[in-house]
Symmetry: C2
Subunit: 194 residues, 2 copies
């Protein structure tokens, strides 16, 4: 009946996501996003909506990617608890030249805009999921519940700092290494106490 859409919505959202990820919400003009996506104004406004709607789609896609990874690693019962954390960190911080550096969620928290203020609770929820994933790991590794809670908090915070380090230009391999060192340190602490 009707002419079908020429483009794949997921594909163009991905492209827009990478642009937002690199440049931030405010610095990304519709024009620049369209150039990146390779579609025209009307196509965007007809299929997805305005800039805010586009950003929400992008952020949601980013978050669901992170949450999938959390489920597949940190919350994966089939893996030994230590491997869960190591795999999560390794996959999260492996060098990937085709992706922007840092983290769209962290970047968004560091900006401020009417729209972004609304989205912060959603972002917080995903980051809390990550932290609770680490909590599950440390609860396996450690008898003391308080230590597990504290260790999970430190890992979650260290990861956010690691995302800032990437933006600062520190190589991902170094960033990953620090994270693994901290995890070992916190695990050893567990071992000592056992």
């Amino acid at each position: 009946m009707a002419r079908p859409q020429k483009f794949d919505e997921n594909v163009i959202v991905t492209k827009a996501m990478m642009y937002f990820w690199e440049h931030g919400y405010s610095s990304s003009s519709i024009q620049a996003l369209l150039d990146e996506m390779g579609i025209s104004r009307s196509s965007l406004y007809n299929s997805i909506g305005d800039k805010d709607a586009l950003f929400q789609h992008c952020l949601a896609q980013f978050q669901s990617g992170v949450e999938r990874l959390i489920q597949a690693t940190l919350l994966n019962d089939a893996l030994p608890s230590k491997d869960r954390a190591v795999q999560f960190l390794t996959l999260s911080f492996s060098e990937n030249p085709s992706l922007p550096t840092g983290c769209l969620m962290v970047n968004t928290l560091c900006e401020d805009d009417a729209l972004l203020a609304e989205l912060k609770p959603t972002i917080a929820r995903t980051l809390e999921l990550m932290e609770s994933g680490f909590l599950a790991v440390f609860e396996d590794l450690l008898d003391d519940k308080n230590h597990a809670v504290q260790s999970a908090r430190l890992m979650a915070t260290q990861i956010k700092g690691a995302r800032v380090n990437q933006r600062q230009g520190i190589p991902s391999s170094d960033v990953l290494n620090d994270l693994l060192v901290l995890f070992d340190c916190l695990s050893e602490r567990a071992a000592n106490l056992k």
Copy 2:
């Protein structure tokens, strides 16, 4: 001879700095900044320059504040080494309702713009100064040089993550507490090895 400037340049830069700090570079319009500073367009363009020049002044003021604190605490030979770190953390993360949350340097690293790209090396230098301050502390506390380097790196990264946590809405008291816990953890590790 000439009519003197009605406003104090440092004062208006401080006001602009707090606005940039809260909202980021791109989201801060000249109009909003002028309202905050309480001066007119021409006054700004005559005394300081355009938006980029203003931002550079603001960032420089922010950085010099941080560097002064680093000198007064982390690099203060008059203090016991552990106190240096504790004082730095406590003063950096004490609750202060009159200041925006997070850190202008971290926020700037997470944005991207032609101007901001130029400023990243400067920001990196201040952050490296902070890390070297912690390195000095850990070198006092610890025999193993490698451990000191690693611990300083972890503290520096944790602080950046702590700034993101503040943006996420986590209370400063909690954020500070985590930092003190990590510092203790790294110091204890030192003690164990000694």
